[in-house]
């Protein structure tokens, strides 16, 4: 008779082999793709290209909820981007603090009448303001409705063919807009482009821009830095190469306005509105047999603040998992449906097997591993194989991600930071991944119970991510976290973020 534990252990070994094997292949694909991409950028001379084309007009839509501490410097920073023709549309989503007052005072706003150019359903708009000194700054004050609702309002009142959805405390590099617009210029069928999101904790931030890139002091945030590298440079680049980008971060993504409006805008009933929109755009365009491209490119950079405490991180991952479950549940018709091409036949099934169900299977695998050792029923062969597939192969993927960063963008210039990242890659499989798996499992359980609550997140504010990562005086601002599951699977299937804040 077959020992159930032994049978399960074999299944787990197979599972980890496929999971980590997939990521190793994605890393390899990403390596080839990144090399090609960087050469392509050099041959195009992006600055000259954009200078000659004049770019395309774009609206930056910035939802804000209780961001009074940081909104003025954030918006000021957005108004200094290196781009010829853009407007900033800040949507105050019914803040209960003085976010609106801060904006009015800082930018000398005055009420205006502005005709909405689409009519996506959303909470009521109270007043629209325009900057007296910055006529390209529009502030829409509305009733609270959540991030997706605020984005829909921003879309209704934006006037450009393209729009960029971002978070209020995300810092864009000065040339980020120019870079993210390039795919729209090169291919008129492009409907959405995602840029890379990097962690700003520990960096020197001055006047709303990241001056000196450093690793943070906190081990927890360092692990997240590594996750971001793995997720963006390996996973997303890899998926993008085969035309299966399913996630564009809610913290930084550009879209063709007309297509998003036609598809119904952002979904206000999920905590994963960014992934939901991308999956829906695939579905929408394929249902209409419309040629389209959805791209992830790694050179436009946005910086964001990562959770610094275990509890914040746990809530964030819990929320992402719920978002993922909602998105997959809503678009289950696409899974293994040839009509939806590579996204439907490859990416979504992968997300179901390794991202959605992954936490449950992995955690059971860890439990079975311990049980096998404790009860003496685990053969040495199994123990060694488990270590090889679940631990060392996982670490190899993380080290490969650091290698991809070094081969491509080399943002962490200090030699010490590089060594620390490598050390993180080697040790993260011993504890950190397992804890993440546990949080994701909680999210999965919540999703099964249709729990739509949002976790609270305490934010320090990037303006106060001072030199060397020290926090400047002024006290923390309590805030709450919004959706944006940045499901960036890799190795262990962990998800990486763009996490921004506010309650629903």
């Amino acid at each position: 008779m077959i020992d159930p534990l032994a049978a399960f252990n074999v299944f787990i070994l197979f599972y980890f082999a496929v999971l980590n094997g997939t990521y190793l292949i994605l890393s390899l694909v990403a390596f080839l793709s990144l090399r090609k991409y960087i050469d392509r950028l050099e041959s195009l001379q992006i600055d000259d290209l954009l200078a000659s084309s004049g770019g395309l007009p774009i609206s930056l839509i910035v939802p804000a909820f209780n961001e009074s501490a940081t909104i003025a410097p954030s918006v000021r920073s957005l108004l200094t981007l290196m781009y010829a023709d853009y407007e900033v549309v800040v949507v105050n989503d019914g803040s209960t603090d003085d976010t609106l007052d801060a904006l009015v005072a800082a930018f000398d706003l005055e009420p205006i009448v502005r005709v909405p150019t689409s009519n996506l359903p959303a909470a009521a708009v109270r007043t629209i303001y325009q900057g007296v000194r910055h006529s390209n700054l529009i502030v829409v004050d509305k009733e609270n409705g959540g991030k997706a609702d605020a984005l829909n309002v921003g879309l209704n009142y934006s006037r450009s063919a393209l729009f960029c959805a971002m978070d209020a405390d995300t810092i864009l590099e000065p040339e980020a807009l120019a870079r993210i617009v390039r795919p729209f210029l090169e291919d008129a069928t492009t409907v959405a482009v995602g840029g890379i999101v990097r962690i700003a904790n520990g960096c020197t931030i001055d006047g709303g821009s990241v001056d000196d890139v450093r690793l943070p002091q906190s081990m927890l945030v360092r692990f997240q830095v590594l996750e971001y590298l793995r997720s963006f440079l390996a996973s997303r680049v890899g998926w993008n190469t085969i035309g299966a980008t399913l996630i564009i971060s809610g913290a930084f993504g550009a879209f063709r306005r007309s297509v998003v409006a036609d598809a119904g805008g952002f979904d206000t009933t999920t905590v994963g509105e960014d992934m939901e929109l991308i999956v829906r755009l695939h579905r929408h365009c394929r249902d209409l047999d419309r040629p389209y491209r959805i791209e992830f490119i790694p050179d436009p950079v946005a910086w964001t603040e990562a959770p610094e405490t275990i509890s914040q991180l746990g809530r964030q991952r819990d929320r992402w998992q719920r978002g993922l479950a909602q998105v997959i549940g809503r678009h289950r018709r696409m899974v293994m449906n040839p009509r939806y091409g590579v996204p439907g036949m490859v990416a979504l099934p992968y997300f179901v097997a390794f991202e959605l169900l992954g936490p449950a299977i992995e955690l059971l695998g860890y439990v079975a591993f311990v049980a096998a050792i404790v009860t003496g029923r685990g053969s040495p062969l199994y123990i060694v194989a488990f270590l090889a597939l679940a631990v060392f192969l996982g670490s190899a993927i993380s080290v490969a991600a650091v290698a991809l960063e070094e081969l491509s963008f080399r943002r962490y210039r200090r030699f010490r930071d590089l060594i620390v990242l490598l050390a993180m890659a080697l040790i993260e499989s011993f504890g950190y991944r397992q804890v993440l798996t546990w949080w994701r499992l909680r999210g999965l359980v919540s999703a099964a119970r249709s729990d739509l609550q949002w976790g609270a997140m305490e934010r320090r504010g990037l303006e106060r991510v001072a030199l060397g990562g020290a926090q400047a005086p002024g006290g923390d601002q309590a805030d709450t976290a919004s959706a944006n599951p940045e499901l960036l699977a890799i190795g262990d299937g962990t998800h990486v973020p763009s996490d921004q804040a506010r309650p629903n």
Partner: protein, 340 residues
């Protein structure tokens, strides 16, 4: 069992080897950056001096050691990109003999390598590499073809603009903004060829629409009559582009061709026609515009009220305000610059 232990050991070793590789990469990158920086410190002042002191470029070229040619070309290109006229010519004169080193790259298998080499030789080699750029317009790689087209879309290559126009169908997927602004870079010398292209019904309509936009950017007055002739075409994209061109360079003479289009079924054609009529029409056209105002289309309402403002039809705008609805909001936005 032994092989499994071996596998674990190999994986652990692979991890460490990967890590070591990353460190080596960093060391190598740092060394290269240091070398380039050292060469910049030497060559930037030399090239800047060449521009300012009137010395002979060839004598400076002779100072370039074979092993530093690649870096010097990069440095020269970096400087040349910011220059125009004789200053740029002097840098080009200095660097042209060094460009021979890039000729093998033009035959490379990787399109990125060909594109990069083509960009440098055409940017710094001037007329000497014009024929090369024309040849590469037909390169199988769209990237290389794009680089060639951009290289030829310069005032100094105006005589070759026909070659680029003949291949616009290759660039169907580019955004119109990219194609049109690239063509406009050539300047007014290219306008006659572009007008002929716009007027040629055998050309693809997306290419003609992009050319119309280029002529708009160039503000080519002579293109107005050509644009008006295209307004009966079936392609909405071309009609809208020609209407936009007319709204910039047209005269009263073309208003008659524009008027019927303010009732077009396609909202973006209606909107463009409103704008053009606001620019070309007379005060009497205000009534037509108000009559055609679509209360359900915000884009058309905005264009219509802006056209009324251009025709100084403030009374009509004031009437719209009192009627309420979307046209009223558009009228307020137009009349008062949006002030509530």
């Amino acid at each position: 069992m032994n092989w499994l232990i071996l596998a674990v050991l190999v994986l652990a070793a692979v991890n460490l080897a990967f890590a070591a590789l990353v460190v080596l990469l960093r060391v190598n990158n740092a060394r290269r950056a240091k070398r380039l920086q050292a060469r910049k410190l030497v060559w930037y002042p030399r090239i800047i001096a060449l521009i300012s002191d009137g010395s002979v470029p060839e004598s400076l070229t002779a100072l370039v050691e074979p092993q530093e040619q690649g870096d010097v070309v990069e440095i020269a290109w970096d400087i040349a990109r910011r220059l125009r006229g004789t200053d740029r010519s002097r840098v080009e004169e200095f660097v042209t003999p060094l460009l021979q080193m890039l000729i093998p790259d033009l035959k490379a298998r990787r399109p990125e390598t060909r594109a990069r080499a083509l960009q440098v030789v055409t940017a710094l080699g001037g007329a000497e590499y014009e024929e090369t750029a024309v040849e590469f317009l037909d390169d199988p790689s769209p990237l290389v073809s794009l680089v060639a087209a951009r290289a030829l879309s310069q005032p100094s290559h105006a005589l070759q603009i026909g070659q680029v126009l003949d291949r616009l169908d290759r660039y169907e997927r580019w955004s119109q903004a990219l194609t049109s602004s690239m063509l406009a870079e050539v300047g007014m010398d290219a306008a006659p060829a572009m007008r002929a292209h716009l007027d040629d019904n055998d050309r693809p309509t997306h290419a003609r629409a992009a050319v119309a936009r280029s002529l708009e950017l160039l503000r080519d007055i002579e293109a107005a009559s050509v644009a008006a002739d295209q307004l009966e075409d079936a392609d909405a994209e071309l009609i809208a582009a020609c209407l936009r061109l007319l709204s910039v360079v047209g005269t009263e003479a073309q208003a008659g061709a524009v008027r019927p289009l303010i009732d077009d079924d396609r909202f973006f054609v209606r909107g463009a026609a409103m704008t053009a009529l606001g620019r070309l029409g007379s005060r009497d056209d205000a009534t037509l515009i108000v009559g055609a105002l679509d209360p359900d289309s915000p884009w058309v309402a905005i264009r219509a009220t802006q056209a009324l403002a251009a025709l100084h039809a403030t009374a009509d705008l004031a009437d719209l305000v009192t009627n309420g609805g979307l046209p009223a909001e558009a009228a307020i936005e137009t009349l008062y610059g949006g002030a509530a």
